[in-house]
Symmetry: C2
Subunit: 230 residues, 2 copies
DNA sequence: CATGGACCATTGGTAGCATCTTTCGCAACA
DNA sequence: TGTTGCGAAAGATGCTACCAATGGTCCATG
């Protein structure tokens, strides 16, 4: 923590407070108050508020201060907003909607990767799937998560579409959030391992159709588990 | 809107300069320089840079200034970034990737709307489709665009998934950008009108499968036209 | 040639001031 | 009583000036 990272802390605090609903929409905040509460000067409070304005959490109006906006105005796809909301109430709904988004995007991304990925990426995918299987039987959740994140990120970024690639951060947030919230089984289920391996193989083989179908099945499984488990 | 909007102007200028590639990745900017170029104080330059940092366009490093980041770090899903990039070079690629994203998301959103949309939304969808047909024969592009944007926005926001809803801004940017760039036929093709009407009817009837399939066909058509036309 | 330390440019953060817009309250008037 | 208009105040916007921290750069020394 040698870094000042002062507004990072304040940004996090205020962002959490808003997204959790602790400060309801319509509440007017003032820079003075924010600065005082967090023991920080008006300048940094201003910068934080600018950031929050960029995320659609507040809108600054003269004479009245910074008004907290409603959920419909939020930039819900921004990783920061996602992280805050995953830590607050409504995380179940959050996971559901994000998983639906994954279901829309990841199959097409896998298909894209099957035709566009570099040779290195294909090799790394196979390697990752193999290591996931090994780790799966040992049951080290943290390391397994890292591999899982890496694999989905690699797929999305290899899809040949940077829009899909931009969603890698989102998917990473979802996966880590799911683990952090204890929504993962203590040891990965064998089907999940199989499907990850199948996807990796389909991409390595350059078979877009199989990659898409398998990935769709994979995320569909996650979606089913979510809605039944929660 | 006689807003001061001082940093809005500077933000726009610098954002455009970076996304257009005029200032290549790795270039170090200093607050001092930005302030001087745009005739603005260091304070506002700092706030602008904070915003740009939030968009992933720059990373601030001490002693060295603000380093312009590469495209892979950009927040390419942010409407501001999209608008900037649609105005610069590479707009064709931009439209392609965004249309692929639409192809992933909009069918599922339409299916969601078929089960979740309110009665008012269903009625408005039918009304919109009808008016698009009327306008289509008259050939008023601007008004047609407004209806088109409204219809897609309504579908996405009625999908019961706020993540899809958040993409309404993106789709709106794409549609208006496509028209602004003159990539639309002078008069809407009859098939597009048919498909919009079919989607509206499927949603109104509460038939998710038909809504999804029809929307997929619609966006697929757009995608095909794009890749052949450009 | 490597290494360590001093220098200094540039961001991070604070303080205080002037300005401008918008809202609120109060008073005057119909 | 209800409405209009004016003044005051609150709070964002923007500026300048200042100090602290930090991490490249570069030179001197082994």
């Amino acid at each position: 923590m040698s870094r000042p990272a002062l507004h990072a802390a304040v940004l996090d605090a205020v962002g959490r407070a808003i997204t959790s609903g602790d400060v309801p929409p319509g509440t007017p905040l003032t820079l003075e108050a924010i600065g005082a509460v967090h023991g920080v000067s008006r300048t940094v409070a201003r910068e934080v508020m600018r950031l929050l304005e960029g995320l659609g959490l507040v809108r600054s109006k003269r004479r009245v201060g910074l008004v907290v906006l409603g959920m419909s105005e939020w930039n819900v796809l921004d990783p920061r907003v996602i992280r805050w909301r995953l830590a607050g109430p409504g995380r179940d709904d959050q996971l559901r909607t994000l998983t639906e988004l994954r279901h829309a995007v990841e199959p097409l991304a896998a298909a894209g990767a099957a035709t566009h990925a570099t040779a290195e990426a294909r090799a790394e995918l196979l390697d990752l799937a193999g290591r996931m299987r090994v780790l799966g039987s040992h049951g080290d959740l943290a390391e397994f998560l890292a591999l899982d994140v890496r694999m989905h990120e690699l797929l999305l970024r290899s899809s040949g579409n940077e829009m899909f690639g931009a969603l890698a951060d989102v998917v990473a947030e979802v996966l880590t959030g799911r683990t952090r919230l204890g929504l993962m089984p203590p040891a990965p289920v064998p089907e999940a391992l199989d499907q990850h391996e199948k996807v990796a193989r389909a991409v390595a083989d350059g078979d877009p159709g199989r990659a898409e179908a398998t990935m769709s099945a994979l995320v569909g499984e996650v979606r089913r588990t979510l809605s039944s488990g929660a």
